[in-house]
């Protein structure tokens, strides 16, 4: 038996989230006295693939097939389930990002494997196999028993640390025969914004709410994010008003993020907003209303006028040693 981890790549490169997944899968594998096998789909060079071994993968499988150049959830789950069976996997680990959400449910049906979706720590028990996950949008956590012989775990991003356990992993090029009738997603056009730190990848996020009063006031907020090497985000009213793009909306119905540091400026902290950011390791609140509920979720707070505080923070970040 083995633990299979699906290691997504972006134009042939892995991200921190990939290494987090491999670290996690390797630790799960230890619970079963086995090692993790990583599966990557696409054109990736050997030196990049080898990096997966640094985080404990014992074996790395690479499939490069022209029918798999863009994500088709049906074709991808066919391929991943095929490898899972060949590798005799009893646990499959995938990210809980958009790709994982597209693939995991289909894999579940193919393999009759129960899914622990959005797990945020190692399995609590191997018998019965029990995982820990968020429910009620962060207002509760559940211990979920997965009863099937194969289990699929989708890992919440940034919920597990990177663990370097260098392994001289073998790299295997595998090939699969895919019936073209399984590939139905035809991508006609791609629109990408280049050069920006993605909100979902960022370790630090500076976010503004209605308390920012006007889109013109975002200048010092963006400056702070840039000075800290972070990304910018906003609350729902701000994106609904068109002050900031929809892609920045964090909250229950927007992006759900888990950075190391979330700085909420002029955000009151409604339940719906907290549902999207409550998994952040640290929350800082800056608000002129000392009774705003955001302070209950925050570890650090400043009560005052954001327009006076933000420039001073930018300065302090730039001057720090």
């Amino acid at each position: 038996m083995s633990v299979l981890v699906y290691t997504e790549n972006w134009d042939g490169k892995f991200k921190k989230l990939t290494f987090e997944l491999v670290s996690y899968a390797s630790e799960v594998a230890k619970m079963f006295n086995t090692s993790a096998t990583a599966l990557s789909i696409g054109k990736i060079n050997e030196s990049e693939l080898k990096k997966l071994g640094d985080y404990g993968a014992g074996k790395i499988i690479n499939i490069d097939n022209e029918l798999l150049t863009t994500l088709d959830s049906q074709a991808y789950s066919y391929v991943i389930s095929d490898i899972a069976l060949k590798e005799n996997a009893s646990v499959i680990v995938i990210s809980n990002n958009n790709t994982g959400k597209a693939i995991a449910p289909r894999l579940s049906v193919r393999l009759k494997a129960g899914v622990g979706s959005g797990v945020n720590k190692l399995p609590l028990k191997t018998s019965p196999f029990t995982v820990h996950k968020k429910t009620y949008s962060g207002n509760a956590f559940a211990h979920v028993i997965i009863k099937s012989d194969i289990r699929i775990l989708t890992l919440t991003q940034n919920s597990f640390e990177l663990i370097k356990t260098p392994n001289n992993a073998s790299i295997e090029k595998a090939d699969v025969t895919i019936d073209s009738s399984l590939v139905n997603t035809k991508v006609r056009d791609v629109m990408k914004q280049a050069g920006k730190i993605l909100l979902t990848d960022a370790d630090i996020v500076v976010s503004g709410g209605r308390g920012m009063k006007s889109p013109d006031n975002w200048v010092p907020l963006v400056e702070l994010a840039e000075a800290m090497g972070g990304a910018t985000a906003c609350s729902r009213p701000v994106s609904d008003e068109g002050w900031r793009p929809h892609e920045e909306h964090t909250g229950q119905t927007g992006k759900i993020i888990a950075p190391n540091l979330y700085i909420a400026v002029g955000i009151s902290g409604a339940t719906q907003h907290l549902a999207g950011v409550s998994a952040s390791k640290y929350i800082v609140a800056i608000n002129n209303d000392k009774d705003a509920p955001i302070f209950e979720a925050a570890q650090y707070g400043i009560v005052g006028d954001a327009m006076k505080i933000l420039p001073k923070l930018v300065e302090a970040v730039k001057n720090r040693k």
Binding site: W10, T70, D72, S73, S77, N96, N98, K101, A102, I103, A104, P105, R106, S108, V109, G114, V115, G118, P128, K133, Y136, S137, G138, N139, A140, F141, A142, H143, I145, I146, T185, K186, R188, D189, V190, K192, Q193, A194, K196, T200, D240, H246, H249, Q252, N260, L261, Q272, Y282, A285, E296, Q299, Y300, G301, I302, V303, K308, I309, L313, A316, V317
Partner: protein, 249 residues
């Protein structure tokens, strides 16, 4: 073409979650039940498509797996504008069970586009839509933020890391929908509420599918430490604390 919108019945987001004795389920007393937010947006977009006659969408049906107590939520969907509804008379034990039930009904009733919200705000599973598609062996597209019909063919916007893709796909398929699909959820008008009472609601009994997961116990999120306040006159102190105390920058 016929659209099906799968809806889930969830506690209103502002609900304070309390557990029953034994912490294996939530205390439903006093809970206001609503249509899962993403399902409500899907329904809104489905109705917008139907309103545009050139789309060729003839009907919008909603389907739900739940006991009779969830009928007010189904009636609400009918009041918002769905033409008819399906209820599969069962508690929803897990995503695999729910998806299997819905897939069986879809086989019988035949739909062209099946909308599912990307997750439900209670279990946060993000599973049912993709599972239905695999049970039916039809395509699914996840993270859909827009859908239009061009000359009878669906065109989808899919959200990807740092961008969007324009995708064309043929029916039948499952669209797994996220924010952006509709601006605001459509609200039921008085006329809709009156009409909803007489709209058809078909009842199906569940088939004996198994569930693959079960909740062992629920727990409250860990309490965060009390907020440490920093003087607004000296915000630089925050950066010092983040660096030396929290050690995250």
């Amino acid at each position: 073409m016929k659209i099906l919108v799968c809806i889930s019945n969830v506690p209103d987001t502002t609900t304070k979650i309390k557990f029953n004795e034994g912490d294996t389920s939530i205390d439903t007393a006093g809970i206001q039940w609503v249509i899962n937010p993403w399902d409500e947006l899907s329904l809104t977009r489905a109705l917008e498509l139907k309103d545009d006659q050139s789309s060729g969408i003839k009907s919008v049906t909603v389907a739900h797996v739940g006991p009779a107590t969830s009928e007010p939520t189904i009636r609400k969907a009918l009041a918002i504008g769905a033409d008819d509804a399906i209820r599969i008379n069962s508690e929803s034990s897990d995503a695999f069970f729910v998806a299997a039930q819905l897939a069986e009904v879809i086989k019988k009733e035949q739909f062209d586009i099946i909308f599912c919200g990307i997750e439900s705000s209670d279990y946060n599973g993000s599973l049912v839509g993709g599972m239905i598609a695999e049970f039916l062996n039809i395509p699914s597209v996840s993270a859909v933020s827009d859908i239009t019909i061009e000359n009878g063919n669906p065109v989808i916007i899919r959200e990807i890391d740092g961008g969007k893709e324009v995708i064309s796909i043929s029916v039948p398929f499952v669209a797994i929908v996220q924010k952006g699909i509709a601006k605001e959820p459509r609200i039921a008008a008085m006329r809709g509420i009156m009409m909803a009472r007489t709209k058809p609601l078909k009842l199906f009994e569940p088939l004996p599918f198994e569930s693959l997961t079960e909740i062992d116990v629920l727990e409250k999120p860990p309490k965060r430490e009390a907020c440490k306040f920093i003087d607004a006159e000296n915000p630089g102190q925050l950066i010092v604390l983040l660096q030396n105390e929290a050690k995250i920058i």
